[in-house]
């Protein structure tokens, strides 16, 4: 491989990129807009869940309980209804997601049998919100229950005894504020780079086919390998620029904690770029029309990267056969890596396994692309 020829191809590619507004738009506009849109739009933190209260007793006790819901950050009282059909209508209309029903004999039960049930009705169509809303509601009721127990013991004149025998002391590691954006945004960088990388290179060879310059290229002394690497180098530089851009937005704008080292970040990002750029190149070799190549590139990268990479949906909760499928998903490895670098401060030593997968993947795709290129020329 001659450096001079390699450089010539690279310079030609740079000129072509510069003159093609579409490539520039992909490289600059796409990451920027997607980072902000996904970054703000994809959010799993639930606050201000609208609640509808149905107090069938209207006593001091029931009002005390309902006030606790009002005071909670996680809930806002949307409506106080007085009949059951009103509650049904409110939930049907999605005016509220949670309905709290206090029974008409609430205080009586507390004094008499000792157990007073409160009903929480949740709109189950969004199962995730339902799960989390139940969790929050249970915490509110539990703390109210404790207060009532303490008051009762006080009245009975018992010396203050800790009523709650067991306390859970929980510590959250890596994402102490439990903000969904801290794990979604690093993964988002992976998804965007997968998309952008493939889009960039998906045009490069098909453009030559379409314009007829492929024949010209082949008649020169350049070898297939020099063409491939010469073409990929400018895109690698562009990819670094884009990745840096996205990562800076993640760390500085979205304030995702960054605990790793820049060296690890650079190395792993380069590996990932090698994979995605080669995949775009492979598609470009296989598909002779530019529009076809970019369409297929979009379909092959975006949805799998979003669903099967562990970006938002946790892989270990998926059915086993899908989990096996995700091993083929190259974005999965980078998502793991980047989350680990940001939140855990992991280094190369801990990340050697996913990095190895990326290396193998890159080699496989490059070999496939080289072979396909030779075949197409023949």
């Amino acid at each position: 491989m001659k450096l001079r020829r390699l450089k010539a191809i690279a310079v030609k590619e740079v000129l072509q990129i510069w003159r093609d507004p579409r490539s520039l738009m992909i490289a600059l506009l796409l990451p920027f807009t997607q980072m902000f849109m996904f970054g703000y739009g994809v959010n799993l933190d639930l606050k201000h869940i609208p609640v509808c209260t149905f107090d069938r007793e209207g006593s001091q006790a029931s009002q005390d309980l309902l006030k606790r819901f009002q005071a909670s950050l996680y809930f806002t009282i949307a409506e106080n209804v007085t009949t059951y059909p009103q509650l049904v209508a409110a939930i049907n209309r999605a005016d509220c997601r949670l309905g709290i029903i206090v029974p008409p004999d609430f205080s009586e039960r507390l004094n008499d049998t000792g157990t007073a049930p409160v009903q929480a009705i949740v709109d189950g169509t969004d199962d995730n919100t339902a799960n989390i809303a139940f969790g929050y509601a249970a915490a509110v009721v539990s703390s109210y229950s404790n207060a009532v127990q303490m008051a009762q013991l006080d009245r009975q004149g018992r010396t203050f005894q800790v009523v709650q025998p067991l306390q859970v002391q929980s510590r959250v590691w890596f994402n102490e504020d439990l903000e969904s954006r801290n794990f979604i945004i690093p993964g988002l960088v992976a998804v965007i780079m997968a998309l952008v990388g493939a889009q960039l290179t998906s045009l490069t060879i098909s453009r030559e086919w379409e314009r007829g310059t492929m024949e010209l290229l082949v008649s020169t002394p350049v070898t297939a390998g020099e063409v491939m690497f010469g073409k990929l180098i400018p895109y690698l530089l562009l990819g670094w620029l884009d990745a840096a851009f996205c990562l800076i937005i993640a760390a500085l704008w979205f304030a995702v904690p960054f605990r790793g080292t820049l060296g690890a970040l650079f190395l792993t990002t380069t590996l990932f770029l090698a994979v995605v750029l080669s995949i775009g190149y492979l598609l470009s070799v296989l598909i002779r029309s530019q529009i076809g190549a970019s369409q297929i590139a979009l379909v092959v990268t975006l949805l799998p990267a979003m669903l099967l990479s562990g970006y938002v949906f946790p892989i270990d909760q998926m059915p086993t056969f899908i989990q096996k499928l995700t091993y083929l998903m190259y974005a999965r490895y980078y998502v793991t890596i980047i989350k680990a670098i940001f939140l855990k401060g992991s280094g190369i030593a801990e990340l050697w396994a996913p990095m190895l997968f990326l290396v193998v993947y890159a080699l496989a795709v490059v070999l496939l692309a080289a072979r396909a290129f030779r075949k197409r020329l023949a």
């Binding site: 579409r22 738009m25 807009t33 849109m37 996904f38 739009g41 799993l44 639930l46 869940i49 309980l65 049907n92 999605a94 049998t113 000792g114 157990t115 007073a116 049930p117 409160v118 009903q119 009705i121 949740v122 189950g124 169509t125 969004d126 199962d127 919100t129 799960n131 989390i132 139940f134 969790g135 509601a137 249970a138 009721v141 109210y144 127990q149 009762q152 005894q161 709650q164 025998p165 067991l166 859970v168 002391q169 929980s170 510590r171 959250v172 590691w173 890596f174 994402n175 439990l178 801290n182 794990f183 970019s294 949805l303 669903l307 099967l308 938002v312 946790p314 270990d316 909760q317 801990e350």
Partner: protein, 377 residues
């Protein structure tokens, strides 16, 4: 007028029939995406990988731990012997939670001084972490209440003073098992239809413009409005077909319920298709090449797709983005689909969404027809 529209419709349908790639793309990817979404997209936490450290080795500590191990939700992956092993397990992501019971646990319980159990949670995925913490709290509360009840009984014996407690009965509506698929699959129906219809419509017209056949059609007696109607009717039918296909996969394969009125869903689907057709049309009036159409499609469909409430609740978005969703037809259609499939509500509840979609369709159609006329001059 009708006589001029029909030939365009027939021409478009014939082209679709001849285009094997289009037929393939209309059937196989939607089914594949349905399946992948249905199985991969989940926020449910079925099993939490757990590491356990019991430094007390008492009956009480074993009882508490047994409650975790016997629960189907906790997958014990390690029984550690030291805090160091626990830390390593969480660090290496072998375990998502760790439960640590220190020595002296049982003694504190018996003395009534209140004991603590330490829980370490890997917060990397905050959503699963919160749900896991919720499960842990439920088990801990159960243990605490049982223990306190036993203690009261033993202490008071015959007096039998009951311990007061307020409990929460959870009643999920519409989706009693809180099955994640019932949430996602209806969302996929709307999303797929939006993407397919907008793509088809935009590309069909832009292709004609690029190739030059658009000009040829315009010199014929056909009027722009008739041309647009003729072009979009086939895609309307394709859209209906897509919805039918995807709903069938949802009902038959994923066993999603259908408790509402199919006619209501049909009405909602029609209005939705009208607005998506209008979006595709509008895009086609601003693009002159297929390349541009591709990029514009992506930039328009991305926000429509993400900011619709299909996976991520609208109420969690910042206010500005929530305002955007008001012009997103998918947002309203998702309410209609979920309403008719899962909730069984009718027009009396869904009419605001119908009106919104109709308004969007009207505005967008008018805009695109006006623009279309302009681009012809």
């Amino acid at each position: 007028m009708f006589a001029r529209i029909m030939p365009i419709v027939i021409k478009e349908l014939l082209e679709l029939r001849r285009d094997k790639a289009a037929r393939f793309l209309l059937i196989v990817p939607p089914i594949l995406q349905m399946l992948i979404f249905g199985y991969a997209a989940t926020f449910e936490v079925h099993h939490v990988s757990t590491a356990i450290l019991d430094l007390d080795h008492s009956q009480e500590s074993r009882d508490l731990i047994a409650r975790f191990t016997s629960s189907s939700r906790f997958d014990v992956v390690e029984v550690a012997q030291s805090q160091h092993q626990i830390n390593a397990a969480i660090d290496a992501s072998d375990a998502a939670v760790a439960i640590v019971i220190h020595a002296g646990f049982a003694e504190l319980l018996r003395k009534g001084q209140g004991a603590a159990v330490q829980v370490i949670v890997d917060g990397t995925n905050s959503n699963t972490a919160m749900i896991a913490l919720g499960y842990i709290n439920t088990i801990a509360t159960g243990f605490a209440q049982d223990y306190a009840a036993n203690l009261m009984q033993r202490e008071q014996g015959a007096r039998g003073t009951r311990q007061v407690q307020v409990t929460l009965e959870q009643r999920p509506w519409f989706n009693p098992d809180l099955n994640g698929r019932w949430f996602f699959v209806p969302g996929v129906i709307g999303t797929l239809t939006l993407i397919i219809v907008v793509n088809l419509t935009a590309f069909a017209i832009v292709r004609e413009r690029e190739v030059g056949t658009l000009e040829q059609i315009m010199v014929s007696p056909i009027r722009p409005v008739e041309f647009i109607v003729g072009k979009t009717v086939p895609f309307f039918l394709v859209g209906l077909g897509e919805v039918a296909l995807v709903v069938s996969v949802g009902l038959l394969w994923f066993r999603i319920p259908f408790v509402g009125n199919p006619l209501v869903m049909l009405l909602g689907t029609t209005l939705f298709l009208l607005s998506t057709l209008a979006v595709g049309l509008l895009i086609s009036t601003v693009c002159s090449t297929q390349q541009q159409a591709f990029s514009t499609n992506f930039f328009v469909l991305s926000p429509f797709f993400i900011l619709s409430g299909f996976a991520f609740p609208i109420s969690s978005m910042p206010q500005v983005l929530q305002w955007f969703t008001y012009i997103n037809p998918l947002r309203y259609y998702l309410v209609v689909i979920r309403g008719t499939l899962l909730k069984g509500v009718g027009v009396d509840v869904l009419w605001p969404d119908f009106v919104a979609m109709a308004a969007l369709a009207l505005v967008l159609l008018t805009l695109s027809i006006l623009r279309f006329r302009k681009t012809l001059e």
